[in-house]
Subunit: 182 residues, 2 copies
């Protein structure tokens, strides 16, 4: 997608973020975004190829960090350190992009099915595996899933809690919840 006038482009992006945060991705129409910007729906589609492209660009920085975390986890050889890297990295990512995560409140499962986010699904599975200390035991994988899904949902709420306080609470919780390596 060829980059157009930066300011209008970014203005639309910001408006979309605001609307997605209130009514979710699927619950926000291109017309809603256009009204928020104060232009026509066609103008929005002049700057972006389609609706999904807006979301993709909005999420690009967060996904890049997620991929970096995925690489760091893959580089760890023993399950215990992989679990530690995954836990700390995921919390750091969730805090840093809590705004973006809030946009998708409750729409993760649906969004992960979209073609642009197919690889995110795979990364999530590897993240789960690392959090479960690469164990195949059901209990370990259930625990990891609860934490992964729970933290993702939580970061959208608690907008009044500071980054530091939220991070401390999540790290403490993870340390208590995750099963020690067997």
């Amino acid at each position: 997608m060829a980059r157009t006038t930066p300011q209008k482009h970014d203005e639309i992006l910001a408006a979309a973020a605001r609307r997605f945060g209130v009514t979710g991705y699927r619950g926000t129409s291109l017309q809603d975004i256009a009204s928020e910007v104060g232009c026509s729906k066609a103008a929005v589609l002049y700057h972006f190829a389609n609706k999904e492209a807006i979301l993709t660009e909005l999420m690009a920085p967060a996904i890049e960090v997620l991929r970096a975390l995925d690489r760091r986890i893959a580089a760890e050889s023993d399950p215990e350190s992989a679990q530690r890297v995954a836990a700390e990295g995921f919390v750091a990512l969730a805090i840093r992009f809590r705004g973006e995560i809030a946009l998708l409140r409750g729409e993760f499962p649906a969004l992960l099915q979209q073609p642009d986010f197919a690889h995110v699904q795979q990364i999530s599975e590897r993240l789960l595996d690392a959090l479960a200390a690469r164990s195949a035991r059901a209990a370990a994988r259930i625990t990891a899933f609860v934490m992964l899904a729970g933290i993702a949902e939580t970061c959208g709420e608690f907008a009044d809690v500071s980054d530091d306080e939220l991070r401390d609470a999540l790290l403490t919780l993870l340390r208590r919840a995750l099963e020690p390596v067997h």
Copy 2:
């Protein structure tokens, strides 16, 4: 609404449950349900007032149990026992209705906004309060929220794990994760 021919009524209900489980509530159209049953869309709307009525009836048993849990929690006077009742009751409910919960995968936030489910939102908040041992500390409420949202999402997955194994894993996790009463 007046009960019509029981078998067709239930047939539509079962078909809707199947479809909701695959494509979610919002992602399933009345036409989809009608096709699954093998009748016309108008026939579906002959047996049910509207689309939401199907979901409401599908969820009625689970919501009734949730309300009973809410009453039991309210009857507990000290925070510690309220926390215990909430944790055990919520896990029991999540296991018993894991099929129904799976239907709503990722659509809780949107569904809770619908008028028929407004009181569920309030019950959820009281459940969160009980799980946090009625503490106002941010860390306690964050932990409770992660567990609540995480468990709800988790029950939809892990269809291959038995009820007993899932319950044990969740109860163990909750016992480890929930902060002791201060």
